[in-house]
């Protein structure tokens, strides 16, 4: 299968990319890794008139900690995130997510920023971005905006990025000490979209109480969903099986899946709960902190 014709614009710098966006407007799409866009073009499900290729902007390839954030540039590959030692040691949720996206070859080209901009309801990065409270740096010729993941991920395949804007960086707040995370996914095989997935990031105090919680689920709604009530229920408490069970029930209520080849509404909802439970227990186990009355 062969894509329809398009105009190709190579951007060698951010300015060139923004100028091209200003020029072509809604007819243009940013081409980052292209791991979702190019197959869609081959099936002619996507027919952008113009592709603005930002891969040549090597300045966008960074993954670095600065100013209290982990900053991931627009063309940093998923595989680089997977291999990054700061991420492996301090960003457990991101490390766990990076290992299960698509397949290992696709990960060598796919990008975090591109995945957020694509905003597939079954994508992995949107879930991790919510749970880790990411912010996205969105830039256009008119200026720069910092958008929270919650505001960025608007709806299926729709984001807060305007026609003349692009996401140039994804920022994750540097986790405080005693922060642990996990990501769980059910997929039918490697490379499949999730049947359901869940990402969790918990920050504990020294007494083993949850100081801050990030919980999100994916593939069970029009977009990745934050389990906000569950986060509130955990905050300030020592995790117990009972509490985790309650959060699982909340996650199942938040889930609003549609049936497809991957499963029924019922199965996907139940699995969202199971995976939230597993991810929470993983984070607790990783912490090794057994506060008073803890059970998991």
């Amino acid at each position: 299968m062969f894509p329809a014709q398009f105009t190709y614009e190579r951007a060698r710098s951010e300015d060139e990319a923004l100028a091209a966006l200003a020029k072509y407007g809604s007819d243009a799409r940013i081409l980052a890794g292209g791991q979702s866009l190019i197959p869609a073009m081959r099936y002619r499900l996507a027919r952008p008139g113009v592709l603005i290729d930002i891969n040549p902007i090597t300045a966008f390839e960074y993954i670095e900690e600065r100013d209290g954030y982990l900053s991931v540039g627009a063309t940093a590959r998923d595989y680089a995130i997977e291999m990054s030692s700061p991420i492996r040691s301090r960003y457990q949720l991101l490390a766990a997510t990076s290992k299960v996206i698509a397949d290992p070859v696709v990960r060598q080209t796919g990008t975090l920023a591109g995945s957020l901009c694509h905003n597939d309801p079954a994508g992995d990065w949107p879930v991790a971005a919510l749970a880790a409270r990411a912010q996205i740096v969105v830039r256009g010729v008119r200026g720069t905006r910092l958008v929270s993941a919650d505001d960025f991920l608007v709806d299926s395949f729709t984001t807060a990025v305007g026609d003349d804007e692009m996401a140039v960086e994804v920022r994750f707040p540097k986790p405080p000490p005693l922060t642990y995370g996990a990501y769980h996914k059910i997929e039918r095989k490697v490379g499949d979209f999730a049947t359901a997935c869940a990402g969790v990031q918990l920050t504990f105090d020294t007494g083993g109480r949850v100081a801050a919680a990030g919980i999100a689920i994916g593939a069970v709604g029009a977009k990745a969903l934050r389990v906000a009530d569950g986060e509130m229920m955990m905050t300030g408490y020592v995790p117990t099986e009972e509490l985790i069970g309650e959060v699982v029930e909340v996650a199942k209520r938040v889930a609003d899946p549609v049936a497809d080849n991957r499963g029924s509404v019922q199965y996907k909802r139940e699995m969202a709960g199971v995976l939230v439970g597993r991810a929470l227990r993983d984070a607790c186990r990783l912490s090794g902190l057994k506060g008073e009355g803890a059970s998991w």
Binding site: F2, Q5, R44, R188, K189, V190, T195, Y267, V274
Partner: protein
């Protein structure tokens, strides 16, 4: 010279593949070649009201647009299906009968232009109600095929065995089970899609077709029948084939349209299907809905088997079965067991789905049969509260009963079922596993052990029974030994990864005392290879392998005359021993085949023809009956329904082994395909007739992570009627494994009272079963 049979020789074909120098169909580019893209119907059942080509023809580079009406005018609108009951539309005319059916073809200078123009062919449809379910089809409320004289959706009824006797035996049986067991619609999906390059040479009048073909000779005959071009004017070349598994046996509309286009334009035309076209239009497999009944005594002795099957054949009956066997070898459904009475019947129906019913890595309909009997045996064992292994052992055909005539018409050549099963149970540690399982059940853990002790039937087949398009299912070999003792070996088969270039050389090397490295094996070119029926249904070694051995023995007989001449002795005094011709009773007086070959061209015996070559067309006296015992061990995650296949052991008995490395590789590959069928693969349709599995994101092929790590072993029980004792193996793992997986899962779920779940055993199906049982 030492033995070359039974040696794990590295493959002779590999050096080109590991260098990227294989030559597959799409690698071939001919001068001025054009590209064909097909237009497909979005509807599963619709009347074609009009087709407007104008916008497509206006695209730069487009040379022609062909529709069904155009083919009608040229009387090329139908192509024959292989067992001769039915025909298939090349391009739809009148109405479309399945989603993605081919409606028009666009021929253009580039692939991209062809794809662009195909989008612009405007087809106006009047949608009709689709019939998706064969159980609806059988009501004949809507007649799908108005081109046929018979106004019914029923295609055929086939039966074998004794109905009344079996019914009576079942009625008299103290223990009976009955289960609807479904072998779902799946697809072979070789990684290389199907394709063709048709090249009509207007100067010579000769049509060359490069084709992804498992059976090039049959395809030549079929092409001649479709087009009316004399068969001597057709040259089929099947280049390297990137996997077939039965998918590359039928003739597809794309082949015919490319050929018609090349004939019209006098320019080569290439068609290579997309993965979507592969999964939505080319030969699917199975879609058998089997009601299986077993009768037994209270102590587990089998009394009767009855199987009634509804087969969904799609819109055309394109199953490539022998004419007399519309349900293929389904009679193998009595398996490895003695049944005093048995009866099987199959009724096939048209539906608004693509045609097929091909043999996906199995002899015709054998996977379905083996699955039915091996599942039913486990259900019976559970009913009897017997260990499934002991039930099998009690009912096995015993060694002294071979050759064994089954009540459904086969005569099994040889077998030693008990030994093979005991070997498997010992290697896997069956008793310990059962102990572990008992402990785990105490804790509520779901662990299962599944056994399959299958028998399959391959090597089609004896000419008195089996044919394709009327052509008897023999196969052939031709051997030419050159003056230096090197040679060329050709066969009527066409490998797709099975390693013929190596194993055929080993067979001939063994028979002639020549180095297999000096024997070039060539297949797939109809101008040079002898006529054969091709490679599918595990028939290559049983049929062509026998032809090779017998052709080599013909060479040897001629060589003996030359050897006698060289040894200045009478032929009777010359014996073939230790890979050379020796003078009886005179130690050290001998000539090698290499010396004989040289003499055949330089110093032939005075009264003999020069040269050293032979041909053999082999009509097998019987089928061969490979068998085996497979054991799967699984653990199930209660919360998600995920099944972890902890271990899988395959003990195969395929008779004499030519190359153990290749045999093991065949087993590994078939097991992964069996795993896929058991757990992942199905071509599903919604009620409106839409295909829900149109590419590799929805039709799942296991990766190295899902695929278990395989354990293998073997026993050897030679076939008494094959010249080498070989039986064939390529399909055993696919025929034998699905039920081992399913039996293991059902064994794990048995404490919950779960009796049967149809494949594929997705996490959700398993989870729902657990949930239903525990709710």
């Amino acid at each position: 010279m030492t033995a070359t049979l039974g040696v794990p020789m590295k493959r002779k074909e590999d050096p080109r593949f590991i260098r990227g120098k294989g030559r597959y169909l799409d690698d071939i580019v001919l001068p001025n070649m054009l590209y064909l893209a097909l237009v497909h119907s979005p509807y599963p059942h619709a009347r074609i009201k009009s087709i407007d080509k104008s916008a497509a023809l206006a695209v730069t580079g487009v040379k022609a647009v062909i529709t069904g009406e155009d083919l009608n005018a040229a009387k090329l609108e139908w192509l024959p299906t292989f067992h001769g009951f039915d025909k298939q539309m090349v391009l739809a005319f009148g109405k479309v009968l399945y989603q993605y059916q081919e409606v028009a073809g666009v021929i253009a200078e580039t692939r991209e232009a062809a794809a662009d123009a195909a989008e612009l062919v405007e087809v106006e449809y009047e949608p009709l109600d689709p019939v998706v379910d064969p159980f609806e089809s059988m009501k004949d409320a809507v007649i799908l095929r108005d081109d046929r004289e018979e106004k019914t959706n029923h295609i055929y009824h086939w039966e074998v065995g004794k109905r009344d006797e079996t019914d009576a035996a079942l009625a008299a049986s103290p223990v009976r089970i009955k289960e609807r067991i479904v072998a779902p619609r799946c697809h072979p999906a070789p990684l290389e899609p199907c394709g063709a390059i048709a090249d009509m040479n207007t100067a010579t009048g000769r049509l060359t077709v490069y084709l992804t073909s498992q059976a090039p000779h049959v395809h030549r005959t079929a092409f001649s029948l479709v087009t009316g071009i004399p068969e001597d004017k057709i040259h089929i070349i099947s280049p390297d084939v990137g996997g077939g598994f039965g998918n590359k046996v039928p003739v597809y509309p794309g082949y015919v349209v490319a050929t018609v286009a090349s004939v019209i334009l006098g320019i080569p035309v290439k068609w290579v299907e997309s993965r979507t076209e592969n999964l939505t239009t080319t030969g699917f497999a199975r879609d058998y809905h089997m009601d299986v009944e077993l009768g037994a005594t209270t102590d587990g002795k089998l009394t009767a088997l009855k199987v009634s099957t509804v087969a969904d054949h799609g819109a055309f009956d394109a199953a490539a079965d022998p004419r007399k066997y519309p349900a293929g070898m389904f009679g193998i459904v009595t398996g490895s067991y003695v049944f005093p009475a048995a009866f099987a019947q199959v009724d096939a129906y048209f539906t608004n789905k693509p045609p097929g019913g091909i043999a996906y890595r199995c002899s015709f309909r054998v996977t379905e049969a083996a699955y039915a009997i091996e599942r039913a045996m486990d259900i019976l064992a559970s009913e009897l509260k017997m260990d499934p292994v002991e039930l099998r052992s009690l009912n096995f055909i015993k060694n002294e009963q071979f050759p064994f005539a089954t009540p459904l018409g086969f005569v099994y050549d040889s077998g030693d079922y008990e030994t093979t099963m005991r070997k498997a149970l010992s290697l896997i540690g069956y008793d310990d596993l059962r102990k572990e399982q008992a402990e785990k059940r105490q804790r509520g853990d779901l662990m299962g052990i599944g056994v399959s002790t299958f028998t399959e039937v391959v090597g089609a087949g004896p000419g008195k029974h089996f044919d394709i398009l009327g052509i008897k299912m023999f196969d052939s070999a031709e051997i030419r030994i050159h003056p230096t003792g090197a040679g060329i070996v050709r066969a009527g088969t066409r490998h797709q990864g099975q390693g013929h270039e190596t194993t055929w050389a080993q067979i001939v090397g063994e028979e002639l005392g020549l180095d297999p490295q000096d024997l070039l094996v060539e297949e797939g070119d109809t101008d040079t290879a002898p006529y054969g029926l091709g490679t599918y249904a595990s028939r290559s070694t049983p049929v062509a392998g026998a032809a090779l051995a017998l052709a080599a023995r013909r060479v040897r007989e001629k060589a003996r005359k030359i050897a006698a001449h060289l040894l200045e002795a009478s032929e009777d005094d010359v014996e073939w021993k230790d890979y050379k011709f020796s003078l009886k009773g005179v130690p050290g007086k001998a000539v090698t085949m290499k010396e004989v070959a040289f003499a055949a061209y330089t110093n032939p015996a005075p009264d003999s023809e020069p040269g050293l070559e032979a041909t053999y067309y082999y009509d097998p006296p019987n089928m061969t009956f490979p068998f085996g015992t497979y054991v799967a061990v699984v653990d199930i995650d209660r919360e998600t329904g995920a099944v972890d296949v902890r271990r899988f052991l395959a003990v195969d008995d395929c008779g004499t082994i030519i190359n153990p490395m290749i045999v093991e590789g065949q087993v590994h590959g078939g097991l992964t395909e069996g795993y896929a069928i058991a757990f992942m693969q199905e071509i599903k349709y919604d009620e409106a007739g839409n295909n829900l599995n149109t590419n590799f994101t929805e039709y799942l092929v296991p990766t190295a992570l899902e695929s278990p790590s395989w354990e293998t072993a073997r026993t050897v029980t030679p076939s008494p009627h094959h010249p080498l004792g070989a039986k064939g193996v390529g399909e055993s793992p696919n025929v034998g494994s699905p039920q081992a997986f399913v039996n293991a899962v059902m064994d794990a779920l048995s404490p919950l009272g779960v009796r049967h779940i149809d494949m594929p055993l997705t996490r959700e199906k398993v989870w729902q079963a657990i949930r239903g049982a525990t709710a």
